[in-house]
């Protein structure tokens, strides 16, 4: 067993996960705000932020889908040791992690049922950059306006159309985290030309 598999977890799990959760919760409650998150050093290609989110929220009760590049032996072994979470495909996953191109199409994930809309997947999207510019956001958690660099618009707009069903997104980049709950209304950046 590689030493890397055993290391890279939270130093003091109760305190580190409390800090990481507060970052994720603030991000989910205030779409468009970017928070610092740290504590985990997962094997490549996972970012420290994605690793910290996984350690904070995942355990044996939460099937995880590793999409594309994220599905490596090192990542599998690291998750197995630190979380014990079962690995699965998109249709059974409560959490999915990977780059946006690998996670789409979104149709395969659980969006909840009308009586239990909470039984839906949360997608952890690994980004190369995360900035507060780009798509315009409005809705719960946003005072007047917010913006976030989203990989695309259409997918998030049709996800909003499913409300109260739908997917929730956590964006990770290095040591930073942002989120987009299903309740957020996404529109094109102001002044941007329609892409033909």
């Amino acid at each position: 067993m590689h030493a890397q598999t055993l290391s890279g977890g939270f130093e003091t799990p109760p305190v580190d996960s409390a800090h990481a959760f507060r970052a994720v919760m603030e991000a989910m409650a205030r779409p468009g705000q970017i928070k610092d998150i740290s504590g985990a050093q997962p094997p490549a290609p996972l970012s420290a932020a994605a690793g910290s989110v996984l350690l904070t929220l995942c355990d044996t009760d939460t099937p995880i889908y590793l999409a594309g590049d994220a599905d490596t032996d090192d990542v599998r072994a690291w998750l197995a040791f630190h979380t014990g979470a079962p690995l699965t495909g998109p249709s059974q996953a409560m959490f999915a992690v990977g780059r946006w191109e690998a996670l789409v199409p979104l149709q395969g994930y659980q969006i909840g049922t009308s009586e239990y809309p909470d039984r839906s997947a949360t997608l952890i999207v690994e980004c190369t950059e995360l900035t507060t510019s780009g798509a315009n956001l409005s809705g719960p958690g946003i005072k007047s306006r917010a913006a976030l660099s989203l990989p695309e618009l259409d997918a998030f707009q049709s996800n909003r159309g499913l409300f109260p069903l739908g997917l929730d997104f956590i964006f990770t980049c290095g040591g930073q985290v942002a989120a987009l709950p299903r309740s957020t209304i996404v529109s094109a950046p102001e002044g941007a030309m329609e892409v033909s």
Binding site: P14, A18, V24, R30, L57, P140, G141, F163, S183
Partner: protein, 301 residues
């Protein structure tokens, strides 16, 4: 082993609660089921709020607990010391100094900020429960947005009393979708729920539900065009600090019909008195009747 795990709960339980909180924030007003644990206090004493607080607290937080607005009643004192002991967090009774506030049935008078989190203790999270006892039916009613029954209930209030007589746990609609029980806060507090800068989390331990309001969420108290919602309070000023804008408790002072109205938010009242305000029954009031002053002094000790 003499030490508790940070904030009492084991880590797997906290992860489960944290997942529920995130889904609750993503679907404002929707009640997320969670596997509520037995806590070292009876159901009805805030076990839901305690579990939510335990999942949210970090060692750097400053924690405040209020019970019907007061920092010094049994429930507030015991929960505050519970977290002092199991999480080692600093505590305070000053609203503006607290980063996490757990509350039973009140929203603090002082406006909350973006750096604060308000955790409500909820006895019955289902606003439709007394109209429809079956959980399977109320789930269906929420999924179909079938809230006519709630309006019938409010209408029956008007038919019987001439006005909407519901004065606490007054139902609200969140972002035009879910009807939500704001917990048994007086309807005086309802207008504070909408557009609040702080995150609001609701925990019901016995009923095993968590729900949430993200900041700046639209929260509308249900009403009718000809009977608009009205945030009501006792038509008096606080006997101790003279405040006319705060929610008041009626306190019986003797068996001769003597009574006084005082702020239910003790921190707000103390802050005003420290700033030099006083009410007509306050000991500092030179024009207060002697009898009353005497009685009032006894009451304060």
């Amino acid at each position: 082993m003499t030490e508790y795990n940070f904030a009492y709960l084991d880590e797997q339980t906290k992860r489960m609660i944290r997942r529920a909180i995130l889904k609750g924030l993503a679907i404002p007003g929707y009640q997320v089921p969670f596997a509520s644990r037995e806590m070292p206090m009876p159901y009805g004493w805030g076990t839901g709020g305690v579990q939510v607080s335990a999942a949210v607290l970090t060692p750097e937080d400053r924690f405040k607990v209020i019970d019907q607005g007061a920092d010094d009643t049994t429930n507030a004192v015991s929960i505050r010391s519970f977290f002092e002991r199991t999480a080692g967090v600093a505590t305070t009774t000053t609203t503006s100094e607290a980063s996490v506030i757990q509350t039973r049935h009140r929203v603090p008078e002082e406006a909350l900020t973006e750096d604060q989190i308000l955790v409500y203790q909820v006895p019955i999270p289902e606003p439709l429960r007394f109209l429809e006892p079956r959980e399977s039916e109320t789930r269906k009613m929420h999924s179909l947005e079938e809230y006519g029954l709630m309006h019938v209930k409010l209408y029956e209030d008007i038919a019987r009393h001439g006005h909407i007589a519901t004065s606490y746990a007054y139902p609200v609609k969140v972002e035009g979708r879910y009807v939500m029980d704001p917990s048994p806060i007086p309807k005086f507090d309802n207008p504070k729920l909408g557009n609040m800068p702080a995150i609001q989390l609701f925990g019901a331990g016995r009923e095993q539900r968590i729900y949430a309001l993200p900041p700046y969420t639209q929260v509308v108290s249900l009403d009718f065009e000809d009977h608009p919602f009205e945030a009501s309070k006792a038509d008096h000023s606080c006997g101790l600090c003279g405040a006319t804008d705060s929610y008041l408790d009626e306190v019986i002072t003797d068996d001769q019909g003597g009574r006084m109205f005082v702020c239910s938010d003790t921190d707000y009242c103390e802050g005003r008195r420290a700033a030099g305000f006083f009410g007509e029954m306050s000991a500092e009031n030179p024009s207060a009747p002697t009898m009353t002053t005497q009685r009032n002094l006894e009451f304060q000790t």
